[in-house]
């Protein structure tokens, strides 16, 4: 039986939130957080 080809929805990249943001060169707080002024001060 011929097996049809299969395709990955993520183009073979199995990435978590932080990998996605890292690959995009984003420099967010803790990887995926945007801070407000008070939070920034606390941080």
């Amino acid at each position: 039986m011929p097996t049809p080809e299969i395709f990955d929805v993520d183009n073979g990249l199995d990435r978590d939130i932080f990998d996605i943001n890292e690959d995009l060169g984003l420099d967010l707080f803790e990887g995926d957080i945007i801070l407000d002024e008070i939070q920034e001060r606390n941080a």
Binding site: M1, P2, T3, P4, E5, I6, F7, D8, V9, D10, G12, L13, D14, R15, D16, I17, F18, I20, N21, E22, L24, L26, L28, F29, E30, G31, D32, I33, I34, L35, D36, I38, Q39, N42, A43
Partner: protein, 636 residues
């Protein structure tokens, strides 16, 4: 995060921005359903509230922590972020949650390997004082949907986080669903005492059987047992892990004549949404003809009448193992769920048993793929399997491909196949969202962490040879043969090579009694494509193109007319048909103060005039009276 200013109301207004991919839209709505089931947090489309969350397709997956009081608050679900657990993660940030390893006590539970972290990214591993972050007296949670994975921000493949309990190394960073502790903290933070969609869960472990009642209008009773000699040997909740405990309800059909019935009714339940999904496990050790009827007994609002409606007759129940069933209910008034066991013809040595009932106001999955003897399949030389063929509600035929050849990664793919309705269907298949769930068979639906992934058929997607990916399988598929010899065509598959890991699958209750359940839903989400809303002459864009909103207002369609939704902040807002006017609390204060001053001035004038007139009147009267007055006995 500590601070009431960061809390949202229990119902959060949201906007799904036009930039979002179709699959992301459907996934976000599914994530909302998980919040509705497990917490008191609900979501509603924005209708002018001062603060709301705008979900859009930005660069990456990110959010703010807590309510920002900025009017619009953005949350990005970018490319690759359209996974249900990722959306849950980002919305937990928006609700006020930091990452789990940022807790003040995290060094008691994990070690950070600093020399393995990408240079300059060390700050991502800061943790915070308990004056900033409140752990709400909930233990450190390795399985939190908010925890980093073990290689987060690593400069290689070695772990940057090592759990003090080694068994949890592969647990951190799993993104399946809210953990028990995530739910506990969320519900404590928002003072939740109920949820919108959860109704009932019963594993029959307690003698009160969750308030279920036996009927007097039947021939036999259901019994609460922990084993039956002819089966089941154990209940489904514990599956023999606690021998002697672990109960289920059993209708002994061997002790009654053909046609005899036993009725078990749930306590009275109060619906909020008008649709329900009843899920339970059923075991047959009786006659092949024994059947289970599901009714709802609905009470009218006036409490005067009650109607009993047959919803489903479950026949041909396989014997010898627990089977999962889903029944869709549509109760709108208070109601009971009624389980009626019916003794069929033929010999019976046992009967029917039910366990792990869950009732929620959610949509049932459309199909269930029950895979038995799963651990044997994992070890078999050819580890790839196709599901039986299924039909979507629109009529598309499909199969699921389970790939166990690349362990420890478990792959799952969706294929369109040729089917009976193909001539009547639209091709390439447009905007059908496929949701595949490996069920965590934990008894209580609120504690399950099922792994779910979705993909959507994009009718414009092409492959190398220029064909449309989701075109008719008879056109773009390959010919294959069912085990019964029937020929059909199967299109190319699209899915997830690492749907979940083998380690994850072995955890929790994904495999129970060596059974795995894969729940499938294929639903039309064309209605989420706002740019394609069908309108007689104009589409949404056209209507909104000729209706400009000022001051960053957003144009929406309301009853077929373009309207503006205006921006607002904590103490200011735009208003008017096109958001052209600005208002603020300061303006209100000025208006109120000047109104008060004007009223005061007016009252003062009226008072002065009244006093003047009165005085004038009384000055004149004494002189007119004294003319003819004779004073007598004045000092008597």
């Amino acid at each position: 995060i500590i601070g009431e200013r960061y809390r949202w109301p229990h119902t959060i207004p949201y906007v799904l921005d036009d930039s979002l991919e179709m699959n992301a839209r459907g996934v976000i709505l599914k994530a909302f359903e998980r919040y509705r089931l497990k917490s008191c947090i609900d979501f509603k489309p924005w209708s002018g509230e001062p603060n709301y969350i705008s979900v859009f397709k930005g660069n990456g997956c990110w959010s703010s922590v807590g309510k920002q009081l900025t009017g619009i608050q953005e949350l990005s679900i970018g490319e690759g972020c359209d996974k249900i657990a990722t959306v849950q993660h980002e919305f937990l940030h928006a609700l006020g949650f930091w990452h789990e390893q940022s807790r003040s006590d995290r060094n008691d539970y994990v070690s950070i390997i600093w020399n393995r972290i990408i240079s300059g990214k060390e700050r991502n591993f800061d943790f915070y004082d308990d004056q900033v972050i409140d752990s709400m007296n909930v233990p450190y949670d390795y399985s939190s949907v908010m925890h980093y994975g073990k290689t987060a921000f690593g400069n290689g493949s070695e772990p940057t986080i090592i759990t003090r309990v080694p068994d949890f190394m592969d647990v951190i960073g799993q993104r399946m669903d809210f953990s028990d502790s995530d739910v506990l903290k969320l519900n404590q933070l928002y003072n939740c005492s109920s949820s919108l969609s959860f109704m009932e869960s019963c594993d029959f472990e307690l003698g009160n059987v969750c308030g279920m009642i036996q009927s007097s209008a039947d021939s036999a009773d259901w019994q609460r047992l922990s084993e039956v000699s002819e089966g089941p040997e154990s209940d489904h909740s514990n599956m023999g892990r606690c021998r002697g405990s672990g109960f289920f309800m059993h209708f002994n059909s061997s002790s009654v004549n053909e046609g005899a019935t036993a009725i078990l009714e749930s306590r009275i339940l109060y619906p909020k949404r008008g649709f329900q999904c009843l899920q339970f496990f059923l075991y047959n050790s009786g006659s092949e003809d024994d059947q289970l009827n599901i009714y709802i007994r609905e009470y009218s609002t006036a409490h005067l009448s009650r109607t009993l409606t047959l919803v489903e007759q479950i026949k041909d129940i396989p014997s010898g193992s627990w089977q999962l069933y889903h029944i869709t209910l549509n109760a709108t008034n208070k109601f009971r769920v009624v389980f009626e066991g019916v003794r069929g013809a033929g010999a019976s040595l046992g009967g029917l048993s039910i366990d792990d009932i869950n009732l929620s106001e959610t949509r049932c999955p459309h199909h269930v793929w029950h895979i038995r003897n799963f651990t044997q399949l994992i070890g078999s030389p050819n580890g790839s399997f196709y599901s039986p063929p299924f039909y979507s509600s629109k009529g598309y035929a499909f199969q699921i491909y389970l790939n166990l050849d690349s362990l420890p990664k478990i792959g799952m793919y969706f294929h369109l196949i040729s089917g009976a309705n193909d001539d009547q269907l639209e091709w390439p298949c447009p905007w059908q969202q496929v949701t595949i769930t490996i069920l965590d068979q934990t008894p209580d639906i609120r504690q399950r962490m099922s792994k779910q992934q979705s993909l959507t058929t994009d009718p414009f997607l092409t492959i190398d040879n220029g064909n449309y990916f989701w075109d008719r399988p008879s056109k773009v598929g390959a010919q294959v043969i069912f085990p019964n010899g029937t020929q059909f065509q199967r299109g190319r598959g699209r899915g997830f090579p690492n749907f979940m890991s083998q380690e994850m699958l072995k955890s929790r209750d994904f495999i129970k009694g060596d059974d795995v359940y894969i729940l499938l839903t294929v639903e039309d989400i064309s209605h989420l494509n706002t740019q394609n809303d069908p309108l007689p002459t104009l589409n949404v864009n056209d209507l909104c193109a000729s209706f400009r909103c000022e001051n960053d207002g957003i144009c929406i369609l309301q009853n077929g007319k373009a309207e503006c939704r205006c921006r607002s902040g904590d103490d200011w807002w735009y208003m008017g048909e096109r958001c052209e006017k600005r208002g603020s609390t300061r303006d209100t204060i000025v208006i109120a103060t000047s109104s008060t001053a004007a009223v005061f001035a007016l009252m003062l004038i009226i008072t002065l005039v009244s006093v003047y007139c009165t005085r004038k009147k009384y000055r004149k009267e004494p002189s007119s009276r004294t003319v003819n007055t004779i004073m007598e006995n004045q000092y008597a």
